[in-house]
Amino acid sequence: MNLYEYAGKEIFRKFQIPVPEGYVIASASELRPYTSPVVVKSQVLIGGRGKSGGIKFAKDQKSLESAVKELLGSKVRGFTVNKLLVEQMLEIKKEYYLSITLNRTERKANLIASPSGGVEIESVPESQIFRKSIDPIIGYSDFIGRQLAKFMNFDAELSKQIRAILPRLYEVFQKYDCELVEINPLVLNGDGRLVAADSKVIIDSDSLFRHKEFPKEDPERTPLELEAQEKGYSFVELDGNIGVIANGAGLTMATLDALLLHKGRPRNFLDLGGTDSTDIVVEAFDLVLKANPKVILVNIFGGVTKCDTVASGIVEAKKKYDIKRNIVVRLSGVREIEGREILKQNGIEAFSEMMPAVEKVVKFAGGA
């Protein structure tokens, strides 16, 4: 789960990682009178806000008011701006990059830093990037900070500051079950202090049971995805016209891949998961229908989820939602014969192999 910049900075503040002074507003009425130069930052979960006009500077009351008026409710790269962060303006002397994230191949967290911050870190040459694996059991230790400070060419004072920030950043990474904590840019301010000018914090959604303070919302998800998540499905909206219901993430992915290779365009990713119940199937149809695809493909390999259960669910859903559009079904594995028989009795043809089903549904959808 992605946190908004302001929420990430609240955590930073709590862990004594320096951030600019500021406050969040959701309406113009919450704006405080102008006292000194400020930055007004749209709270949307997308990079490149500056270039897209989502960040404005104000040097008097009037420009502050007009910035707020302009930004609140506007769209930044497709995302509606519901909140603004009003922050003291920094006197930027230098911008650095700093983050901790999981390296899945190493199965360890990595500390990443660069003297070239404020830009897309991907475009920074490898020689300008400090990267250090953190032992999962030992955790962060000061020698790592000393190595980092040397790489960054920090003087004694900046080395001291960064080595105060790093253990706290790692603590945030650990305590909040983060996939990523990122400060880009970490600014060397006019007063000589290192300050986190931005924050990007991604929390492992699986850990939310122990982080009740965060609302169960993920602003990166569409309303339909959120509804599906709430109901326990893995569901992603895509932009095609073939609704997909399958079981298992791998098989669902393979289904989408097969559609694509046959020039079909999936409307969604929906993984039924491993529960054997007709309700799960019926509800899955409800979600897919809300996405309004032209046709629907059901691809099941029966194991824990049995084919006859799925067949019954399909029949029930077809009646309940009065589905007229074509449904192409493939059932294989545990109870496949029983499942296909149920469907046949209800006028639905079911394949036992995946490829013919894919070919058929693509044809119905008007592709290939």
């Binding site: 699986d206 992603v236 895509l238 993430a249 098989l251 992915m253 393979a254 491993g274 594995g333």
Partner: protein, 284 residues
């Protein structure tokens, strides 16, 4: 050769009185697995599928179990794993989904300290036809044979194993690595085992987008594996940055794309199937 488990491996199920624990312990027994006990705090004395239930793993230790299947809710997985490790078990298979990866990481590194192997979380387990099954793979799809499979996916594994079996071939060992960001086992560890196992003649790897485990596996194969290896990569159609069910399947910065994995495999002489169903053909 013993590949993690064999016909003598004694297995317990932590969380045996839950829905999953009950069903799959029964299936495992049907498969021939030596399930000797299960745990469920406060339910000692009960029986599930004829298997005695204990309060704690320590209470079963005298029966010398070697492996456990953990099927408790995600918040309790870490404790269950440490309980098994403390009791001296040598294989911890975690069936549970949605285990926070910080927990998985902690479990993995502590398990390694103690010489314990972790399988999962969120994978279908390990099956050795004719010997032992620990996990949730459907019993019916297997036949004893010479093909070893290691997979990051669950259902897709069944699909592929089924296809192999239907083409008249059979499997020596099938390992589901799990689709989580920090799995207990990766392709290279599976390849080491398959390479050393004389019953295994051919190898199938079922990968996914995300991470660079497939690329590293390809490198390992190039250097060390003489047996025939074929592969399938799920997620070719995934748009960058979109989650596809498995947290493991996020494409980040071009690393871990389907293209990069397919290229790595092909350069290592590993044929990559376009469709899961093509795997048996490539094995022939």
């Amino acid at each position: 050769m013993k590949v993690i488990v064999d016909q003598d491996t004694k297995v317990i199920v932590q969380g045996i009185t839950g829905h999953q624990g009950m069903f799959h312990s029964g299936e495992m027994i049907k498969f021939g697995t030596k399930v000797i006990g299960g745990t469920s705090p406060g339910k000692a004395g009960q029986k599930v599928n004829g298997i005695p239930v204990f309060d704690n793993v320590a209470d079963i230790a005298h029966l010398e179990p070697e492996a456990t299947m953990i099927s408790v809710a995600a918040p309790f997985v870490k404790d269950a794993a440490y309980e098994a490790i403390d009791a001296g078990l040598k294989l911890v298979y975690i069936l549970t989904e949605h285990v926070p990866f910080h927990d998985s990481m902690e479990i993995l590194y502590n398990a390694r300290r103690k010489g314990v192997r972790v399988l999962g979380p969120n994978g279908p387990g390990i099956t050795r036809p004719g010997k032992c099954k620990i996990g949730i793979m459907p019993n019916t799809i297997f036949r004893k044979g010479g093909v070893a499979v290691a997979s990051r996916s669950g259902t897709l594994t069944y699909e592929i194993v089924n296809a192999i079996t239907q083409k008249g071939m059979g499997e020596s060992t099938v390992i589901g690595l799990g689709g989580d960001p920090v799995p207990g086992m990766d392709f290279i560890e599976a390849l080491e085992l398959f390479n050393a196992d004389e019953e295994t003649r051919k190898i199938v790897l079922v990968g996914e987008i995300g991470g660079s485990n497939e690329e590293r596996a390809a490198e390992y194969i190039r250097k060390n594996v003489k047996k025939k290896v074929v592969a399938y990569i799920a997620g070719r159609s995934a748009p960058p940055g979109k989650r596809m069910g498995h947290a493991g399947a996020i494409i980040e910065r071009g690393v871990g794309t389907a293209e990069s994995k397919i290229k790595a495999f092909e350069e290592a002489g590993v044929k990559v199937a376009e469709y899961p169903i093509d795997i048996p053909g490539l094995l022939e």
